[in-house]
Symmetry: D2
């Protein structure tokens, strides 16, 4: 099922101040990362070694919340405020970096951490690619 | 970009009490509907006839919040509680029905409402398909 | 710091279809329960016996998400749709019941679970009191 | 009803890296601001002059999402990561500043904007007070 992010962007009735392709890519990466982090936190919670994964769970929960909120803010174009988008994208890229590093440290033992680390890396890149166009 | 929902489901370390294919389909439809509703609310806000779209905006906001929360709850399998999943899926299907009806009423005038109505219909169906397996 | 929920309700420019006192009480209880559940999940995660608290953490996360979304939906009055409010309140009361029961089972060992159980009970009651006025 | 934020902080089983009084004050201000912004967006939507309030509605929605997420992240202490807290607090203070300015511009005409502007100012201050302790 292809995402509706791109098609919905095309229907926005006024002008959009951001590169539409990079914007759609960032929103899709954010939603995918939020989903992966929510699932990874829960999978960690069911591992026998959960006591060694508590930092991973916490960072997953933060990253899921921040990515979901960033996707929402980037999906709004009415009354655009570049300073909000920029600072939030910076916070989100920071969270994705931390969560990607934490998950990567468990990637050899837990496949859910490996997949989640990839989603975090892709999301961090999507945020930075978009940030580079805001200046 | 294919969703990570299915691959992440495969990595869950314990058993899952729901049909995995229907579960992954529902989660993807929920995330897609949440995204479409957030974007539709914002597009409505930028239409010249915004005063005729206030109910649509409100229902979009409700549907986005409820779908996002339902996707999260369904992405957790640890300590599964069927009564929470069932009542939440019922509330979510209700919200998707209302939002789909409201958006459909504006579909001939606004392409974002047409696409969003489709996402709501698909999400309602995904919720009901999963609900049918829980009882 | 008194909540702004009641004062904001007074400023809504159109009529509201629900009992304002019960509505404000429910929204405050929902926000308080969401906060308690988020904090309880994290406190459980830092307990040495975290492996015995995984169901509690999961139910806390669900309850926090559902309460936060219910508070948002109840804070919107434009284009009111009773069927969404009713089914969502039922799902939320169900989640609060489950989470209150789970936290109560750990209340003698963990003070955060005791306080959280109380917040869940109060929230379930606030939801049911409001539900009784909708039907 | 007093907030459970402070009492829950006291029950956290490990050490907390932040000033507890400033932390509890920030979390309460964030939750209050999120609630005020959600209600203000909806009240604006019901004003006859909604077409002049679209930027206010949008900024309210952003601010509500960002404050709610920041409250959650600050309510977690397990596996604390100062870089996430700091960048998110900066983004949140930015959003509160923008939303407070926008609401203040309508405060003489709409009481909900006046109350919401105050909640945004208090929240921005709470974020900056806490930020000053993180360094």
């Amino acid at each position: 099922m292809p995402s509706t992010t791109g098609p919905m962007l095309e229907t926005y009735p006024k002008s959009i101040n951001l590169d539409r392709a990079k914007l759609a890519a960032a929103v899709d990466a954010l939603n995918d990362c939020a989903q992966a982090c929510t699932a990874c936190a829960d999978a960690c919670l069911s591992e026998d070694m959960v006591s060694e994964l508590t930092k991973c769970i916490r960072t997953n929960l933060d990253c899921a919340d921040i990515c979901a909120t960033t996707a929402r803010v980037l999906s709004r174009h009415t009354g655009y405020d570049a300073t909000i988008s920029r600072t939030l994208l910076e916070a989100c890229a920071t969270a994705c970096r931390s969560c990607g590093d934490e998950c990567a440290a468990h990637a050899d033992k837990h496949e859910h951490c490996r997949i989640c680390a990839e989603a975090c890396r892709a999301c961090e890149q999507g945020c930075r690619d978009l940030l580079a166009t805001i200046s």
